[in-house]
Symmetry: D2
Subunit: 499 residues, 4 copies
């Protein structure tokens, strides 16, 4: 209901390209899965007529393709060789507030400044209060606006020092892109919660949440932006051939708190983040799921029909494939099959009129392939269970196709704790794992599965490590409750409630 | 091209009415002539669920009837017993910036605050610079945002003192409505440039730019808000039966600088502002025009057909009627006639496709009543001439109807100077009176009239005084160049140019 | 509620102009008062790529300026040197059926054919039944579609003969524009109910409902299309220099049944129809109103303030002026004044939210000029009274301004009978003159006026004759019940009710 | 360019359900893949107020969810217990003609009649000409309108006989749903080109193009509508418990011409059509592909990395899985992998701004999973190749991921002939198989694959037969040029070109 300021988001920035806005447009399109509520692009150029640097922007509610469907936006408005863009995650359209659409672009004493932000600050309430005491007025409920005020209120003399001063005060999960009249600055928080990658295309430098935004633009991946890194791309970079970096020290935590849920569910399988291909990690997750719950342990039923492994498309495809392959490797007879079909025409605005049964919403999105499921022992792999309602409807739908058994395998541990770093889970009491106090059998019963198996937290971490042995550490707070960065006792909810 | 932050506007506020937003809607509709670019309403109420005061808003580009065409806005969103609203004048749709739509609503240390503003600050550039030095970031190019920052940066402890502190720093022309969680505060600048009236309906108090916004709501006019008055309407008012007032002293000027152009052209004829009915003033203006230029002095032509007086509808109707009646009173034979018809279906978006002659735009708006004009000596009364292009097309169009002569009478003096107090004239070099260096004959020739007569500045002031002998003084700077409040050498243009 | 197929409408056609569609656009804009629900244009050209004649069209709901707001419609779609256009009157938006938007464009054995129609057929039900028996399917509820079927089902060999064959079967009120691949054909019904004028601009020929559509396009008026005339404009016309004409004989009536209500209310005052300027006729109507009801007969009140004559703007302005002038001529002291102001921002979509009193809709449209009305004896001139509700609210609104007396003068007789020829009156039992069985005093009481005076039918006809002595006869059926063309006992209502 | 009247489409009808329109809405949503250009629903009910049967409709351009996003459509407009709906395939938005949106609803001598049509008539031109000679006018370019005219022009006395009379005259591929004031009639052409299934939900009867529209509504599949079957559902059906059927004889062909391309590509894998699950058929197709082109025959390369089989998602997933499983069964080492990711946010309106390389459109839709492809021998399975441009871009994209080899396997034979029965292929000279005169090596070279293999026509038919041994015969004209129903020499193109 409330207009959450802290959510999934996708960001993209480019410097020194004659079609900066166009590349940002494609990049945002590739990052569409990270946010469907709104999209925006800000560019920077020096207007020779006015003899001043300007930052035109175009923003709106909806998918990237809708917000930018008029080609003139690119040829007449979003001029310039540098740009940043942002996709925002959809919570509730009803509460949508246009003033929260990013990037934010403002003018202050040192010129124009635009910012795009993915993540969630944990000390926002305290900073907000401090700034209000200094006379700041807030026009949005976003953490991002807060960062802008910290910069503009800094006593430091140079813009870069002001930015560093502001970054020194914020805590939590954030990837930032800052566009000034001269520079593109990319920042990843010292704990490295969210992914951020650096790429290059000819003489242009590019930064994005995931590498899928590079592929669409034929940008070459250079490396991850490191936790705590402040990367500065400007004219000097063009000369030296490499952006220079500054480093922020973590106030709390180890600097190794990458969000493991990005690998489990959120990133695109064709992206490489945190130093490894998501696809590969997800495959290993499937493998570890098979190690912990091999088919013979899950079911003792023997039929002339080989058991089948199916996924909830598309997000669980790779883990399901990994689960099937590992079982086969172990000699457990099984087949990977396509047992559920997803209708991709369902958009955010889909209405469900009529007195129709409550599960019609699931049926508008999924259907079973009956011939595949009938009389089979079915192993259904899904990446996670949140409230459990969709899972229950899926199991019921599969049950109607006449399988022998349905075993529900989850490629991550039970979600039992809120995320304060940017994932938008429902409140803890709505999480099915909490509803049943972690009793797996009760959860299985409530969703109607013959059995239910969650990958263990250790299994998840081991799987990621096997795929990515050189990688940094991960945050698993939503599974374990161990928060790497302390969370203010009065967390962010109240900011939303002014309006 | 540029997105002017200082323009005509209409404002409306109401306190203590269960249908506050609905009345504001009607009020804004009645004030539609003061601004057609955008409209917005903010209400205030205490949300019992959240246990906090909230200020929902609804704003958008377009006419009031378009912005609020969904009835649910009133029943589900704009709840509360207090509201303020704002109509904004249209300059160029292309440059329209949604962030400039008023009212502005923000949150700061002392709660919610919304503001609607009609006018133009003369010291905005200096204040803006001062605030930027203190770290303020600006999200719009509007003077109004500046006032909010002055309030939030005040050191005073109470909200009211903060507001007074801010008002003490600004100069220029302004009528303000401020909505806080507790109060509705109406302010008219110490020189009283723009009109602002106070009314009452049952137990509700109402403030508006013009009384036409009262009539539509069946609100009783109480009196003008006085120049420099800060009127506070709150729970205490309900008890005492009358809002209390504070007074601001003018920093410059006499405190008697009411915009005479409001009477000449801008206000609706059915409104009462500055203490007198606009209609009555406009009639006297017509009378003085007849005194300065009686028909026999203008033309010596004698025909069997009586000379006719026609107006450019609708704004000049009353002055034309006054001109005709005074001439008749003086024994100068003439008839008031309707010689031009106005097409009221022309909106802001009217396009003029094709290779059509340049005057087609005038023909989409006006047509002549040929039978009325043919063979007549025509006295055409218009309220003002700005660039002169429309006047030239009108004269040409009338000429095609075959009159004997066309005498163009202007019910105000030549406009030769920019207005820094809120009227949106083109730049001085575009004003036809300047193009011809004030040479009336040259202007007459350029618009094609047989003769041209402007009311003198003295005649205009005398006319107003005769209608409104008790009234305060007036600003005539656009005619005389005498600016009652000094204007910063680097006036506001540059603020617009960041974006 | 029902989607009336027979209403006021405006039509425009042009032949042999490189900007045919653009001129049609301007013409429809000038005729906007004849229909605001929808607008459409069809052009004709020979497509060299496809080597066939084509008829592109563009139609939509809304005002002309909205339907055609994309300039590309003219440069990329509506090509060709011939065009016809149509404005449709608004009844109820809710029941709007896109398939009823005109012009209609179809393909049949003899090529493309488009039609625009203003009026109402009286034998539509019988013709419809006859055609249905022959297998015709109807996709709209419009008389216009019926004419197309009559043409396509004709046994005649040439297209022109087919059209004449169809015209020979229809009865009622109609002005038609037919566009074929070769010709523009204009038809006015044999009784001449609706106006239709012929004009010329350079080498182009133009036909329109009213001359105001000529003025905007600088088209020269040639003459009226005569009752029963079938005017054919084609390549031959270009050579001979004059369109050729055929003539339809009236099946019923005298051929002199021009709608007198066009002069009373419907046509624009700047138009010339039925051979005379509407303005002139309306002025004479005011004069005859003064002859029948001179001020001293209406009121015996004597005050030091001269009685005032005001109009309900804008439609009654001219008649009010005529009434005032005639009284003055008779020596009856009075002044023409502007006592009511009309808000022209009220569109079709204006909503009236809230518990507001029922008369708020009138207040959104009109306001009084209080200074003008106070303590005066007021003579309010309106063109007609239909249901009486608006009149009652107006009188009440004026009463609040404190006049001494309010005398309501109607510049036409009481409307007591339905119009079967195209005027969209409510059903007879809703007409206030019927509600009170023609008792004028009762009507006066119900609208709250001190007295009420309708122009007599004879006075109306005499007024029109004085203005237009050479003119043809008029239909006064809505006042007198004398229908010049017989009306089928089961009149057209039922056609609307399929959907 | 041209607005094709003969295309893929989805149809849905329901009789005797209180939420007829709602179920049709869900059914159309499930059939969205069959047409995305427009959607429409017509319902039938007896209006007690008007005492007549009525057929309200709602239609529009766009996806089902967009056309029906206002819930009121269902509660206030589309009332009644019977409904039919239609999805139309998208060709070119630019040429979209609102008059072609189905269902068509008309009124004729025997009442209301609505029709929804999937397919393409082969003798439309001749019938159209015949009807035009009889005086019929055409308002659309659709075959569907033609059927309506045939019905209304029939001499038969009962509506059912008229319909049979009309059906007796048409040839080609068609599935029809006819809604009358009393009945729902479903028709499948005598050759059975397009699928049509019958289902039941409680006391309601349902007809749809595919069973996926049943699943979403929890409708039970009863059976296929048979080729030539005319199924009548009415009040009598409710009593007898089963709809009655009539039978049309094929004028040409065997009555066994089911479109094999429905199985190859067009139907949803979770649908059951032509008597068998599409998924099962597609799996067999993959199997036969493996029989014809087992991995060892395709490549002799031996690496330590097992060859991978990937699909072009989502349409080729099942065939690819079948190909992989069959190879494994044969002992050919390989893995089914997910090597391409599809971005499902690409809509019809996606723009491709900028100077971007030509393959950017493919990259907006697909991306490679690099880790999966690198150094592998890749077997890419796609369902068909039409123009070859997308295939070339896909191969190039995969090549960039560094595979050892890319072998392109097509699960259908080369498309070399136009479809006159409803599939919308480009013109023959644009088909890549024709461009290279069927030379497979040339095609392989042009798309950049190391080898290319098409399933043989015999293999395709055998695969289908193995999956569906009881099934009827199939049309393979697009592969073989053998047209089961003769095609008029002047085929339908010209109809489109009037407008």
């Amino acid at each position: 209901m409330s207009d959450k300021p802290h959510d999934y988001c996708g960001i993209f920035g480019i410097y020194n390209h004659p079609e900066a806005a166009v590349h940002t447009y494609y990049g945002l399109h590739a990052l569409q899965h990270r946010g469907q509520e709104s999209a925006g692009i800000v560019t920077s150029w020096f207007d020779p007529e006015k003899s001043i640097p300007v930052m035109p922007q175009h923003k709106g509610f909806g998918l990237v393709l809708n917000v930018f469907e008029n080609q003139k936006i690119f040829t007449e408005k979003l001029l310039g060789h540098a740009a940043i863009g942002h996709n925002r995650y959809s919570t509730s359209g009803a509460a949508a507030n246009a003033q929260n659409i990013q990037p934010f672009r403002v003018h202050y004493k040192n010129g124009n400044l635009a910012i795009a932000h993915n993540g969630n600050l944990t000390n926002a309430a305290a900073l907000r209060k401090m700034l209000e005491e200094r006379g700041v007025i807030f026009q949005s409920t976003s953490d991002t606006e807060l960062i802008l005020h910290l910069i503009s209120h800094s006593d430091k003399s140079t813009q870069l020092d002001q930015i560093l001063d502001a970054l020194g005060q914020i805590e939590g999960a954030y990837c930032l892109l800052l566009l000034t009249d001269e520079k593109l600055i990319a920042v990843r928080d010292p704990n490295g919660f969210r992914p951020l990658v650096l790429g290059k295309k000819d003489e242009s430098w590019v930064v994005a949440s995931e590498t899928c935004a590079f592929d669409i633009n034929q940008v070459e991946l250079i490396r991850d932006i490191k936790p705590g890194e402040v990367l500065i791309i400007d004219r000097q970079t063009m000369e030296s051939g490499m952006p220079r970096s500054l480093h922020l020290e973590p106030i709390h935590g180890t600097g190794d708190s990458q969000c493991i849920f990005e690998y489990v569910y959120f990133s695109r399988p064709d992206s490489r983040i945190f130093g490894e291909n998501t696809d590969k990690v997800r495959r290993k997750i499937g493998k570890y799921l098979a190690k912990e719950f091999p088919i013979p342990d899950v079911t003792s039923t023997r039929t002339d029909k080989v058991p089948i492994v199916i996924s909830v498309p598309d997000s669980s495809n790779t883990a399901a494939l990994g689960y099937a392959h590992e079982n086969q490797k172990q000699g457990n007879d099984c087949k990977y099959e396509i047992g559920l079909i997803r209708n991709h025409y369902v958009g955010r605005t889909f209405i469900a009129p009529g007195q129709a049964s409550r599960d019609v919403k699931v049926r508008t999105k999924f259907n079973t392939v009956k011939g595949v499921l009938k009389d089979r022992v079915v192993f259904l792999v899904d990446d996670s269970i949140v409230r459990g309602t969709t899972s229950a409807h899926l199991v019921n739908m599969i049950r109607n196709a006449g399988p022998k058994e349905i075993h529900f395998l989850v490629s991550s541990p039970p979600i039992m704790h809120p995320c304060y770093y940017g994932m938008d889970f429902p409140s803890p009491e709505e999480l099915i794992a909490n509803v049943h106090r972690g009793n797996i059998e009760d959860i299985a019963r409530s969703i109607g599965a013959d059995s239910l198996h969650y990958l263990s937290p250790e299994g998840l971490v081991d799987a990621v490590r096997e795929a990515n042995p050189e990688g940094r550490g991960f945050c698993t707070a939503c599974f374990t409750g161990k928060y790497p960065v302390p969370v203010s006792s009065r967390m962010l909810k109240e900011e939303n409630e002014y309006y």
